[in-house]
Subunit: 342 residues, 2 copies
């Protein structure tokens, strides 16, 4: 089977323009994968896509993990000229985080389906990506790890899990450790799903994650000010229904990724000291946060940046967690400059 | 029965210090009460408490309706010297809004229990209060209607339902018509309750309103900034559990009051024009809002104030919907001045 796939890829390379095939979804098989908890993910697979070309000195690889509920497919629009990472310059590895419904997840695991899928951590996501990068792609170093939201959390985790492995870490609206408000928010979403009669009926016939994703997305992804500017009283419920229909994220996947974010604490191996954590980070760090972010409130990232003397960009619009999108020109340029000059 | 109660009250007046008895909960029986929808609330009762004394010219009565999920009992702490309304000067009528579990509500109606209780509007609340004020208390005029949050919505509604009936209207973090974000927020809470297996199991054995009240209260009553300053990562879940235990509001009552707020639109009888609505208001209006309010976002109240040339106080802290409490000195003084001078 593997041989067949390889052959198919090879054949495609002959027929398609350079780079086209690399962007297709590929899977790395990690076998039974031991988690930080001691539990094992059976038959662990990690999805990824690559963009651009590795240079001869192997110094231009940038790892780009997914945000919560996001996939490497969705990262595509952030790769390219004038976008977050330019694949004309960098060899970009977009990687599907555990539990995102592409990589091993409650929704696709045959041996550990749904809530039998063990809890995993942001550290486990990062470890799985390290395996892909080193054992499958054969790299010994990364130019940078860059990520947005939960991708930014993975970037922070990379900086402490593998401090020598990359030159730079760029967490965008991410966090090294969730603030109280963020813990409350994810718990509320988990409760809404777990108390739902559609999920909690013994056979998982419905998917309340759609309502949670749509409603909490609308409530918290931007700010009330921004939301009120963007819509009208008449459109609220039609918009909400549309968002529910468009949401495809599995409730069990969502629960496990939310739990991973809640468990994140990069200071854990440093006795809970953010100061000692920051001192142990070797990479040059560029922290980007938004003051009005209600999904990943910016306090812990700002504290980390202050202690680590990271470069810090504070976005200050009413776009909240979506500020990196609303202010993409500024952010993309700042990231491009940082990647280039440091 | 009524005679007995009256006698008991009379007797109590002889024995207790002036004012003490008046503050006790009393009920006005309105019989079958026709709603704006055409449906009828059977055996409608409205709870109220009075504070202070009606002056000989009957010009010092101030009506004070309750906020969402609130009771006239809870308004007590806002009445007195240095508080929102001073009962040394004013005859304060604190009134329980329909559906608040004291006045006729899904939770206490024998003839129309739970979801058999018809939907009612903010206009119905105000109409029921008009009946109490005119027919039970025998007043023909009010000095003012003052209310906080849903109480402020009732104050706005009073200004259009009975424009000649009071000199002043003081809506505090209230709204004449909910903004899109507010509609979304209440619908999310209603969905969380209605999808809950504890509520939606055919026999209403559990009360998911407690979780909704506790979680959404913590998420939206202040701001993420304020929340993160007030608590710690370690305390989040203990605080949440405590709030759930302390919440006593019935899920069905909550649904009906939330629906009443969502249906509010003081412009309805003016063809949807806020301009014509504002022009029809005779009372002097003092609008108090908070810029960071995420429960009653301030846009519509500010627009009303601008069009009606109302006095306007905009609170600007990180306290959000709780700003009138956080900045009570400023608010109480401003209200006192307004009540006195206009």
């Amino acid at each position: 089977m593997k041989t067949l796939v390889r052959f198919a890829l090879y054949l495609s390379c002959m027929l398609l323009p350079a780079g086209a095939v690399a962007q297709e979804l590929q899977f790395a098989s990690l076998g039974d994968f031991r988690l930080e908890s001691g539990e094992v993910l059976r038959d662990c697979r990690v999805g990824y896509r690559t963009f651009g070309k590795l240079n001869p000195t192997k110094t231009n690889a940038v790892l780009f993990p997914t945000w919560a509920s996001g996939t490497s497919e969705q990262l595509k629009s952030n790769v390219g000229s004038g976008r977050l990472v330019d694949d004309a310059t960098y060899y970009v590895i977009a990687v599907d985080a555990l539990g995102n419904s592409v990589s091993s997840s409650p929704s696709n695991s045959k041996l550990q389906p749904r809530m039998q899928f063990p809890r995993f951590t942001i550290g486990d996501m990062v470890h799985s990506q390290y395996e892909v990068v080193t054992k499958v792609l054969g790299l010994t170093h990364l130019r940078a790890v860059i990520g947005v939201s939960m991708g930014g959390m993975q970037a922070f985790q990379w900086s402490v899990s593998y401090p020598e492995f990359m030159d730079q870490v760029i967490p965008i609206v991410g966090s090294p450790q969730l603030a109280p408000y963020d813990l409350l928010h994810w718990q509320t979403q988990i409760d809404a799903i777990m108390n739902d009669r559609g999920w909690n009926n013994g056979n998982y016939t419905e998917n309340p994650a759609r309502a949670a994703e749509a409603e909490f997305g609308a409530l918290l992804l931007t700010t009330p000010q921004h939301y009120n500017k963007q819509t009208t009283r008449a459109r609220v419920f039609a918009d909400l229904e549309k968002a529910k229909q468009e949401s495809r994220f599995d409730a069990n996947d969502k629960i496990r990724q939310d739990q991973a974010m809640m468990a994140l604490d990069v200071t854990a191996r440093f006795g809970g000291s953010m100061e000692r954590t920051a001192a142990a980070v070797k990479a040059k760090v560029f922290v980007i946060v938004a003051t009005t972010d209600h999904v990943v409130t910016p306090g812990p990232a700002i504290e980390f940046a202050r202690l680590q003397q990271s470069k810090l960009l504070i976005l200050d619009s009413d776009c909240g967690h979506q500020a990196p999108g609303c202010e993409s020109k500024q952010v993309n340029q700042a990231v491009s400059d940082f990647l280039f000059t440091n």
